[in-house]
Symmetry: C2
Subunit: 598 residues, 2 copies
Amino acid sequence: MKSFITIAFACGGCLLHGAGSLSISDFGGKPDGSDTTLALKKALAACKAQGATKLTFPQGNYNFFPDYADERYCFISNNDEGLKKIAFNLQGFNNLEIDGGNSLFMFHGKMNPVIVRDSEKISLKNFAFDFKRSFHSEATIVGNPEEGLDIKIDPKVFPYRINNNILVFTDGKKSKERKTTTKSKKLIFPYGGSLEFDPVKKEPAYLARDLWVGPAAVVKRMKDGVVRIMDPKLTGKVGNRIIFGPSHREHPGIVIDRSKDTVIENVTVHHAGGMALIAQLSHNVKIHKMQTMAREGSGRLLSATADATHFVNCTGKIEIGHCNFEVQKDDPSNLHGLYARIMKKEGDKTFVIAMIHPQQYGIDFVDPDDELEFVNSKSLVTYGTGKVAQVERINKQYTRVTMQEALPKDFAIGDAIAEIRDYPEIHIHHCRMHGNRARGLLLNCRGKTVIEDNHFHVPGTAILFESDARFWYEQGGVRDCTIRRNVFENGNFGPLQWGTGVIEVRAGIDEEFKSTSRYNKNITIEDNTFILFDRTAIVRTFSVEGLTIRNNKVQYSQEYPRRGLNDKLFDIQFSDQVVIENNDIPELPDFLKEEPKK
Amino acid sequence: MKSFITIAFACGGCLLHGAGSLSISDFGGKPDGSDTTLALKKALAACKAQGATKLTFPQGNYNFFPDYADERYCFISNNDEGLKKIAFNLQGFNNLEIDGGNSLFMFHGKMNPVIVRDSEKISLKNFAFDFKRSFHSEATIVGNPEEGLDIKIDPKVFPYRINNNILVFTDGKKSKERKTTTKSKKLIFPYGGSLEFDPVKKEPAYLARDLWVGPAAVVKRMKDGVVRIMDPKLTGKVGNRIIFGPSHREHPGIVIDRSKDTVIENVTVHHAGGMALIAQLSHNVKIHKMQTMAREGSGRLLSATADATHFVNCTGKIEIGHCNFEVQKDDPSNLHGLYARIMKKEGDKTFVIAMIHPQQYGIDFVDPDDELEFVNSKSLVTYGTGKVAQVERINKQYTRVTMQEALPKDFAIGDAIAEIRDYPEIHIHHCRMHGNRARGLLLNCRGKTVIEDNHFHVPGTAILFESDARFWYEQGGVRDCTIRRNVFENGNFGPLQWGTGVIEVRAGIDEEFKSTSRYNKNITIEDNTFILFDRTAIVRTFSVEGLTIRNNKVQYSQEYPRRGLNDKLFDIQFSDQVVIENNDIPELPDFLKEEPKK
């Protein structure tokens, strides 16, 4: 068995920064191209040992390589589990601010920039980070032949090779490409879905939808560096960019796990191999002036390869203010709980649950003394609650739960449970959300939720109330949600599956239960401006109790061609206590008066 | 955080089997098609709790599914690391015999049959195991067009689909094949290298070599169920079988890790997604009447997808007797130590090492008080030794080591270290090794090694002394090795890269050091029968001190066409104390007298 050495430091320079503040330069960290990973490890160990409350970086460009990085197996909700190499490994810290001094942190290879776990009062400030080689790849569309799509890939930015007619993205380092029966390094960057982007508008191309090209696109090498993807279903506009999304989300940018009072301030995520930020099972997260944005000069259009932010089973308060989320490959935010499926009953009080969505495996949210709700998976109606006595983790998917009292009488295999918790208060304000894939905000928390003074320009629904207990297993159902003073500018320019209304309920409630279920409650939509280029519904809901839509303004534009819809502005079904008043709705302009072309 | 329940059992029937013996049937395990995994877990927990020394299975076919299986992240040398679902999870047991009663254990999906770890006196007896869906796939060659190879795949045995011209092997369950941007199950069976086999002879086809077809073969669907692999380099004889080896070795059959006194007796491995058996860092392993062999009626030719057995940094005694290893996709056995590369010096006594072969990551073989040797990576000469004071694991690849004394004066970055240990005594006898890929036995242990009364028929070198400190990083160098009374029948029918001699030294010693290095010592080869179909070297060595070749018999056959070699029977270079005497060597028969056709 191993014996581990306690690391001790002789650090004469530390005093210069005050007892509570250390600098990376005292540990050998230099913005000179060298690997900062070991210096950071030493600095963090010293912060912990000395109880320092601040770690600073003199302004510069720092590099981080995975070789000497800490390692831990991580389950990260809505991203991919795995044994991660971690640069900023903030495990078990209390009261530490990391101030990057407006530096750029450049990560190399396959590693995770920041994981905060079991920590309290962590602030991450004043830095940007990027990856030398992105987890996704991009190409410019140069032709549209019938048999597929002609593209050009800049090999300096997105190294690739063609192996026996298959397109393979690499890190460009030839020396490691040796292949034997059992010995090879993971140097490839596998891809899954592709999506066409408009590089001038910096957004998904009009009506462009996900097209699966992974894990292996068959290609033909043409002259002049052109690569032809031999897939007739692929099309795209010459000059647009096709983005090959990574097959997995293994390297999200900032992970906050089972932590309390985390602050992210003035942090720019130029790239991440997964979500830019994901917080799970954590209490109080404040995000101020965060950005997702490709680095100028990087040759890339896309920023993070999944959501800008995502919150799972969090509590306390979540504030996202003055942020700019652009051109990441999924929603700006999704805030939700988790449902687990009831798999079998083992006694009066004991049953087995399973996480069904593989990216929720290992997120052990059920603890003794937790209060659970039992939920009909078809109606999302809660039919019982109870307190947990004991929990036995079987493996990352299955858990045995014993309640303190008997199970509810309607208990049924196939239904779901979720945690009744201190649902977080949510405040998202003064954010700009532009040009990402899919939707805007997915609001699925039962705490007071206020969305105000934001600017949305996204290809799908800008604000979505989703949740279901049969596919994504995301617990939601707002109780008090205010959406005010936002501008929704020419959204819904993507494919219909990303949403047909600006604000929508799409909870996973079976048709037969929509008339009785009231999953979302008390939604107020006021003082917003909706700029529409089509006959788009601004509010489309069902199964809502308490819906007020007032003092909103609608404007029409010709920014995009019509999508072919012919919807009413308000499409409200199976809802009670609905007030729609004092909205400023102009006459349909001439260009929308005609019936749409299908 | 979780609280774990201690499992208690009311088991009235246990007494029937005596205090020390439990039966799976008392825990609900039935050979009726149901999942035995949970019953096995309960039974093993009861064995531990009650100190039972035996667990029996009434004869029958038992099924094991991964859903409720135990899970642990495992580093398994020469196989692939990962979070494993484990059926027979024998962690921390002492004195337990598992008697399968000649049952068949059928595993479903992606799981690991047996992992013995940190245990003592474990016996596994009297069972065979198989997988419902194999990790490799097979196809029959039906045509040899210029543009590739025409094959037919039995979809009942090896379900597959063709996705956008790419051949994908699946588990055949359609319901799980839904693909979304972020949610999909691992139900595919990725492949890497292919190899042609002769289904009548049950062995690799004459001269067939590994051809890389993974991760994605481009195919065309032809009429009558024929699939054309569009790769001109693929060829094969109509009627032969092409075997698609799995891309990884994630699910070896039996793993013995850091354990003592393990016995495997009368166990048949019909299939494994990796090696059939691998032991690492373990003391005393006895293998008696083990088999690797495809199950009759399974529709498969291949047994395990890698080595039959493999031993890494083991100690004590390793005995392999009366075994039958056939048609697995790598060597019958390889017994070696590990070298780690010296990466940097951090002080008079402290340095950092790294495992270089990715399948050796996480095998932490350096512990405090271990004795290490420092080895020149080009000559494999040991230039210093010393005792370890402290070890700090940085991550799965890198470890910081501090010695008790100063480092040797020749210490150099790029050289290697290995553990000087109680090298195991090795006895391999009365085994039949037939029709596997590559070589026979790789002998790389410094304990007394006796190989006797075996029958070899393998396509490469039957007995190989390999080892190197620059590619595979396998420590070897025999000190006392006797090879006697074996029959080497018509081996070396594969490609030249699997070896040109029957018994060979191929240690990784640079040309300039071969004349001085004496890496292998005291090899005696006596009373063996060599049956040759070519002018093949029966012994080819270099850098050996002490080599006796006596009383052997050579016979010639016409079983295969000549490979085009023209070698002497004994090709001994840079060796001392060489005795070659009293060997019974007939005249070259007429069919070998001609110069070979190139």
